[in-house]
Amino acid sequence: MSFIGNYISTVYKAVTSLLKGMRRTGYYFTHHKEIITQNYPENRDELNLPERFKGEVVMPHTENNEHRCTGCTACELACPNATIKIITKFDISPEGKKKKALDTFIYHLELCTMCNLCIQACPTDAIKMAQTFEHSVYNRAELTKTLNKPDSKLMEGVE
């Protein structure tokens, strides 16, 4: 007799818990406001990424086309996989002394792991992370970027 009782109670418990699970998916089927999909290419204007997002390394320039990089190569030394290559030149300052300055700041976006170590190492806050994330290109050469704009020079007062 207990066998039949066990049998019936197994069937009953199984059916009720299955129905409870179905109720949960039925709830999601009928409540469309729970949908969290975003229509990506159409919502580019509304997207706002947090300001700490590590997208790619950029060198901010002022309106007079000046940057803050002195060419000290601290970021090149800090980078774990040779993403940054700095080419320096020698500037003649007004007093006639020779000073090291930045010629080209080559940044290989295809190698960068966005680990943030270069930004930590920079003593003058010359580089920062931008919030772009769409980096795919058809031609690999476009990923090798020069971060300092042409004809830009070092800002006054930066050591």
Partner: protein
């Protein structure tokens, strides 16, 4: 002679068009239903709100290369999808789509349905064997065992309705539901039969939670792993049309087919219900049952093959037989509505 030939052609074209349209609609419905249950949108870019998605998929499948593996048995490999399709098409004959719209109203309609639905097993076993692939063979064997076992439960559930009606002819079964659908008139035993029927047909059409044969995360795709292009499209289409057909049978036997929702002798209410055309009643009921079967797929995990067979032989079959006994007593004593 000529008129019957013309009639045959028209019916043939009707069945083929119905197949194509059903395939498109059902695949799209499955994707949207699954998407809403998974808190995401479904296809919504191709065409207006994504409705042309299945059309795009069909075109893609048509232009794919139909590859036959090297060691495969060519004759059986090419024949298998067609057998599965033919089984599905033959079952369209006795189903009434609306009042006075039945292709072939034979006097043993229910027996014909249970007999012909077993033919698709041959197609599946052929597909698994001739692919010359260990995965396909395993999948086909499992599927064969599963379908043959669940046929029994489905058959028992169908017979319990036949007992209430007293006839195997489909139009008689529908006519007897004029005062109310068998699900309500037959109360408890009819409800148990209905539940057993739904579970059994989910297993027969290889749908989750009984889809071990084509379990995507285990044996790649089971018995249709080696098929590509048009032949795969035929298997895919045949699966969805099978679902439609078994739901149509369930709607006919338990929910009244094209009969509107009548309650006993409430003439006013019945008259109102009669205004809605019978084809809408039929398709509405069928699609409701299809939705329930899709609901099962996206909620429950998969049963292992031995648990599946366990469920059938130790639970569904004894309950089904006991239910048959109960139904016979009720039919003899006249204790139904």
């Amino acid at each position: 002679m000529l008129t019957s030939l013309v009639e045959l052609t028209i019916v043939g074209i009707f069945v083929l068009t119905l197949f194509a349209v059903l395939g498109l609609v059902l695949v799209f419905m499955e994707r949207k239903v699954s998407a809403y249950m998974q808190i995401r949108l479904g296809p919504n870019r191709v065409g207006y709100k994504g409705m042309a998605q299945t059309l795009a998929d069909t075109i893609k499948l048509l232009v794919k290369e139909g590859l036959t593996p090297d060691g495969a048995d060519k004759f059986l490999f090419n024949l298998a999808p067609f057998i599965v399709m033919i089984g599905a098409m033959l079952l369209m004959a006795p189903i009434p789509f609306a009042k006075n719209s039945q292709i072939w109203d034979l006097n043993i309609g229910v027996l014909y349905i249970t007999a012909v639905s077993s033919i698709s097993v041959i197609g599946i076993l052929m597909a698994g064997w001739s692919s010359n692939n260990k995965y396909s063979l395993l999948g086909a064997m499992r599927s064969g065992a599963q379908i043959v076992s669940y046929e029994l439960s489905a058959g028992l559930a169908i017979i319990s309705i036949v007992i209430l009606t007293g006839s195997l002819k489909i139009s008689d079964i529908i006519a007897s539901q004029e005062t109310g659908w068998w699900l309500f008139k037959g109360h408890i035993p009819a409800l148990i039969s209905f539940v057993i029927f739904i579970i059994a047909v989910t297993a027969e059409t290889n749908r989750a939670p009984f889809d071990m044969a084509e379990a995507e995360s285990e044996l790649t795709a089971g018995f249709h792993t080696e098929y590509s292009g048009m032949k795969f499209a035929l298997f895919f289409l045949a699966e969805y049309v099978n679902i439609f057909i078994v739901c149509a049978i369930g709607a006919t036997l338990f929910l009244g087919g094209w009969m509107p929702f009548h309650i006993g002798n409430w003439a006013g209410f019945n008259h109102l219900m009669d205004f809605i055309p019978s084809s809408i009643w039929f398709f509405g009921k069928t699609f409701f049952l299809i939705f329930v079967i899709m609901w099962f797929r996206w909620t429950f995990p998969r049963l292992r093959i031995d648990q599946l067979l366990n469920l059938e032989w130790k639970y569904l079959l004894p309950i089904g037989m006991f239910n048959l006994l109960l139904m016979t007593i009720i039919a003899i004593m006249g204790w139904h509505f």
